[in-house]
């Protein structure tokens, strides 16, 4: 039987189908636009890598300065490294690379191997201790911590002569 009520019910059903279809189309376009629109910029990898370069090459850090006040990139001053290892916070946090008025965004554990000795110094030790448990492999997201491990063979100036050594760093961001 083809009554007016059944006709209207059929139209309502068709309209609902159209509304559902339009909603799907709407969200498809939104997703399509979003896929072309980058919102997140992650520079943690670059930043941590750059930190290590800064450590090895930059003046006023752990590298050696001779009597003529010339800095020697790649040559670690044992005395300065021991000075950094002895205190926390140290001159690396407050003088060499200081995030003025901001929470530091990088922390690092530095290990200098000189002969049989291993000297450990920290950059922003407090942050390092807090972030290290969160630096889990493969875990990503806004609260995750990026971890970079780097090693470099360096020369160490012990005040008398140059000796071979290794600088290892665990850098968190």
């Amino acid at each position: 039987m083809n009554t007016k009520t059944s006709e209207i019910s059929g139209e309502v059903l068709l309209t609902l189908t159209r509304v559902v279809f339009l909603t799907i189309v709407l969200f498809s376009v939104v997703l399509l636009v979003k896929s072309f629109y980058t919102e997140k910029i992650d520079i943690k990898g670059t930043e941590t890598s750059l930190f290590f370069q800064r450590l090895v090459f930059s003046p006023n850090g752990i590298i050696w300065q001779d009597a003529s006040e010339r800095w020697h990139p790649g040559v670690v001053d044992l005395r300065r490294f021991e000075q950094a290892a002895a205190a926390n916070p140290n001159f690396l946090d407050s003088q060499w690379a200081s995030y003025t008025g901001e929470t530091p965004i990088i922390a690092a554990k530095l290990v200098l191997t000189a002969g049989n000795r291993e000297i450990v110094a920290y950059y922003n030790r407090e942050s390092f201790n807090r972030w290290e448990p969160r630096a889990l492999l493969g875990v990503e997201g806004p609260a995750s911590v990026y971890k970079l491990e780097k090693e470099a063979y360096v020369l160490i100036n012990n005040g008398e002569k140059l000796e071979q050594g290794k600088l290892s760093a665990t850098i968190l961001s």
Binding site: L22, V25, Y37, L50, S58, W96, S98
Partner: protein, 155 residues
């Protein structure tokens, strides 16, 4: 006999009423959807938050790179920075847009406390410059903002 809907639209007055209602509803719905989509796309196109975030991070990274350099460096930074304003103060690279309603974006950079940092904005005559010149000389890092027009091909 059951009539086709099109025939009923013109032949049956009562049928036309609700057919017409649903058709108008469809048109209104389609219009609303199209306007919403256009507004969404236009809103995204106008937003400069990505550019500001990108530039603040990039310039902060650049300052960290200059700090890593053992020697003297001069670097002219040319990006698409029209209508954006820069500020480098207290270890923050801040980028803001002409639209005051949009929040500025900033990113911290690590300062070497043995060095001096200076930032020279461009003159008030050129409020929205698009070239930054970074230079590192001994114990000083300077950033100069200059207007870059089409006549200055040498930059």
């Amino acid at each position: 006999m059951r009539l086709k809907r099109g025939l009923r639209l013109f032949g049956n007055k009562k049928g036309m009423d609700h057919e017409l209602f649903f058709t108008i509803f469809d048109y209104i719905l389609a219009t609303v959807v199209i306007i919403s989509l256009l507004a969404f796309v236009s809103d995204i196109a106008k937003k400069t938050i990505f550019e500001k975030n990108y530039l603040s991070r990039d310039t902060a990274l650049l300052l960290n790179t200059l700090s890593s350099a053992p020697g003297e460096v001069s670097y002219t930074y040319i990006e698409n920075m029209n209508m954006l304003n820069f500020q480098f103060l207290d270890g923050r690279a801040t980028v803001s847009s002409q639209n005051q309603k949009e929040a500025p974006a900033w990113y911290p950079y690590a300062q070497n406390k043995h060095w001096g940092y200076s930032f020279t904005p461009s003159s008030a005559f050129d409020p929205w410059p698009n070239t930054l010149v970074f230079s590192k000389e001994k114990a000083h890092i300077g950033i100069k903002q200059t207007y870059h027009d089409h006549e200055h091909k040498d930059i």
